[in-house]
């Protein structure tokens, strides 16, 4: 699958062949850093001064690189497809190789960052348990009632929520059986076929 680059995008990236490959490498590093932590406009000023161009040109170059890397990672395009997509920019062999390397080295991390943007449910983080015996309550003295206290920690878009829950041994057994049934389901032929064929 080829990446289709807009004219504006091509124009922004057009700055790259005019500088050293070392500088392109540096821009690549900055682009990945910005994808990780967000952009920092001051960097553009410094680089623009050194290269004797306007900050805007530097910004476009870096942003163009960011978009190229993030789109390629999102679609998980193959090496060949990436090279073919970049070919249309008319860069030198050396520059193309540099861009490809940049893509391959950082694609996993960029995909991880993108996955955090996806809509998500509260996600399991941790489960702790404690077995207690209830001995008495206001309504009834002299009991011996086993109670299982659970601390379920969930992550919801960065915030951690803790649920304190309890259950009894009979229900616990039922829960375990039900969840084991759920686990077994992914090993059935039907699921295996889907997992194998949708790639």
């Amino acid at each position: 699958m080829l990446l289709v680059l807009s004219d504006e995008h091509k124009e922004h990236l057009g700055f790259l062949p005019e500088v050293d490959s070392a500088v392109v490498g540096e821009f690549g590093r900055i682009a990945v850093e910005f994808l990780r932590k967000g952009s920092n406009p001051k960097i553009y000023e410094g680089a623009a001064r050194k290269l004797n161009v306007t900050a805007e040109i530097v910004q476009h170059g870096v942003e163009g690189l960011m978009y190229l890397l993030s789109e390629s990672s999102k679609l998980m395009i193959s090496e060949v497809d990436f090279q073919d997509s970049v070919l249309v920019l008319g860069f030198s062999e050396e520059l193309n190789k540099l861009l490809l390397q940049l893509y391959l080295e950082n694609r996993k991390e960029i995909r991880l960052i993108l996955s955090e943007l996806a809509p998500s449910m509260p996600h399991y983080h941790n489960l702790e348990w404690r077995l207690d015996a209830q001995l008495a309550s206001r309504a009834l003295r002299q009991q011996v009632k086993p109670v299982l206290n659970l601390k379920l920690q969930l992550d919801d878009n960065g915030t951690r929520r803790t649920h304190l829950l309890q259950t009894d041994p009979a229900t616990l057994l039922h829960l375990i059986q039900e969840l084991e049934r759920a686990l077994a389901e992914v090993k059935t032929n039907h699921c295996r076929r889907i997992l194998r064929n949708i790639k």
Partner: protein, 205 residues
Amino acid sequence: MELSEFVQEGLQYLADSGYFNDKAFAVMIEVAFRSLLLSSSDDTVLDNNELKHIEQTVVKHCHSAVTTCILECVKQNADRSTICTCLEDIRFDPERIDTFCSLYQKHKKDLENVLSSIGRGLPHINDASWRLEYQIKNSHLHKVNQPSYLITLSTENSGSRSAEEVNFSCNMEQLQVRALRLSWKEASPATNVLHDNKITFIYFF
């Protein structure tokens, strides 16, 4: 076992053959136990034919006194001698004490279950539902290709009787119910020990 003045007065009526003859007494005790054990019953204490000849306020007072007394006995896990002493102080006949005690023995376990279900606690899980899905892509990322589970735990809070759900997603590794299975391994023998040693526990404390 301490009973309030109101309860003692109500029981004194019951002890008095002038108010309650033997038949009426037996009926009253039966009705009292039944009203505690059944969540809804068709006949109320005031509609009962055997008790119609007695003044209604006395009937109501006695009914509430007996039910309070029964619950207090169950709550404290009172033994026969404690109950006998208590009822003797209120001048119950030996036959009437017997009637009360045999019904008490008969229904004690069920009443204990009712009482143990009352109380505050953490939300109690009573069921789990699950859904297995295969994530193909989303607006930010294509070719995700990961199976994931959506689990819903149904909980019930005895305080407010409301049912709440805890929803969360997890992957296969996290669902490896290691944590739960481990706690079951611990809970299962411990529960057996608890049941076997119920008597020991009680005396220990």
